[in-house]
Amino acid sequence: MTSPKKRQFGKVSLRQFLHPKTGHAPAECEDAIAYNLSSHRFAIADGATEAFDARTWAEQLVTSWVLQEGCSSATEFWDFVAEQGLILSDSWSKLKLSWYAEEKARAGSFAAFVGVEIDVDAGSWQAIALGDSCLIQLRKNKIVKAFPISAAAEFNSTPILAPSNTGLQTDAALQIVSKTGDLENGDKLLLLSDAVAAWFFQIDENHDLDLLHRFTSLIDRGNEVSLANFFETERSAERLKDDDIAVLRVEVSRI
């Protein structure tokens, strides 16, 4: 029996991109990104447009999660969501709300979430997700793993999301999924909100290598204006649904 080969990744680089729906201000984008380079935790969330205070909920989930330890099992994550939900609803209780805001707040807020922690010593990752935000692992620009969704056709308009009022949505706990994977030098992890994830899977399924290459090149260069123009073109061509976009790309490499 041979011992596992130990891999070291001394460099973790990242690119991030947030873009609102067409015609919306950046402040109206309800997707959120957070990362912690000390603990190598990365997360995105996609606040449900119909929900109350969705942007705050998405931001709170990702910023709190990357600062935590653990929270990578379904049980731990559900407890984390419940705790965060109480904090959020407590913040609302201090507000004097109109009847309609009160009605929306009663139902709580909702967001899709995916978070990943990289073990740079072991060369592995562990991720947790609830909803339709996705993690895609690329090796030499080919998909090695994708979760919790792995094909364009798997997206629908009614995903189960992380609720701020867990008491009203106990079934959501059953939809939490976790996954692990190994990393090789130069691997990239893409965290994508639903619309851009569905687009990515579709162009991969169509073997549209040119489009894939343009996307990954733009992400690598990190030019936000070029990326915004690229996605607006994709929306105009109706290849990309007009929804908020969150892209967080993490690349690991040896020193």
Binding site: F52, L95, S98, W99, Y100, E103, K104, R106, L168, T170
Partner: protein, 289 residues
């Protein structure tokens, strides 16, 4: 058709047209304890509540819809009471901010531990029950036509307006066929105006929901309403299916001898617009205070 995205810059228009003639004070569907006008006012208030909630983004109500509530009976005109009285067409944010009254009630909700608790809720009211006078349906439809002529001229690419007409009897001022067809001939680049009709009765009669063939209708007035009822577009058929309502391609937006559940579904389907999940409001509110 019927696929235009409804946005603040490209809103749509919803008209709730209500028979408020004297006969609306009669019992409803054989139930002597319940007046037709009371039930209809409650459904309309819930429908307006639902439309506001759909447009609520945290503490802001976005103007995706403009709403008219037109009544006809002793008078023909806006049925809104309170701050919105006398206004034909109202933005949904004004609907949200200017109800006639906000009442207090209780709602039963899950406590998260398998049980239920009652929590205080507030719910607004915009219209009161009204039943007085004859049934000037043609005059009312003409007012709707005038409102919508302006609307489609100003919103040529918008999702077409939807008219949800509820009545309990025949027109007292002529045949509504001509003006009904005029309304259905109005259109935007996304399709013709949608006119749906719901007939209710004081008697307990067999209801006919969303027929595709007028031969199932034995009543001449029913056939008139059928002919001025639009076909249900695909999105609305999907909403009907979600509610368990039998409707199929070719079905008209028409219900005859509607019972209480049919009326609720009529408004839920009629306001589903772009295929959004119908909001089921007939919930567990327990008492008003």
């Amino acid at each position: 058709m019927y696929s235009a995205q409804i946005t603040r810059s490209n809103p749509t228009c919803i008209v709730l047209l209500l028979d408020q003639s004297g006969s609306m004070s009669d019992p409803f569907s054989g139930d002597t304890a319940s007046k037709k006008s009371d039930f209809v006012a409650e459904v309309v208030n819930h429908t307006l509540h639902d439309l506001v909630i759909r447009c609520t983004k945290t503490e802001e109500v976005r103007n995706y819809y403009y709403v008219a509530v037109i009544g006809y009976g002793r008078v023909v005109g806006p049925a809104f009471r309170g701050p919105l009285a006398s206004r034909n067409l109202v933005s949904i944010s004004d609907v949200a901010d200017y109800p006639l009254q906000v009442k207090n009630s209780y709602k039963r909700v899950a406590d998260g531990a398998g049980g239920w608790v009652e929590i205080p809720v507030r719910y607004p009211v915009w219209i009161n029950p009204l039943a007085d006078g004859k049934t000037p349906m043609c005059e009312a439809l003409t007012l709707v036509k005038n409102i919508l002529e302006n609307w489609v001229a100003e919103h040529p690419q918008g999702f077409p307006p939807t008219v949800l007409h509820l009545t309990d009897g025949e027109s007292s001022d002529g045949d509504p066929d001509y003006v009904g067809r005029q309304i259905m001939a109005l259109k935007t680049g996304d399709g013709p105006v949608l006119l749906f009709n719901c007939h209710i009765t004081s008697l307990r009669r067999e209801k006919i929901e969303y027929p595709s063939d007028e031969t199932v209708l034995s009543d001449g007035f029913a056939r008139t309403l059928f002919q001025i009822s639009s076909h249900l577009p695909e999105n609305f058929l999907a909403a009907a299916a979600q509610l368990g309502v039998r409707a199929k391609p070719g079905s008209r937006g028409f219900v005859f001898n509607a019972d209480p559940s049919s009326i609720v579904q009529f408004y839920e389907i009629g306001t589903s617009l772009t295929g959004m999940t119908p909001y089921r409001w007939m919930d567990d509110r327990t008492e008003s205070a």
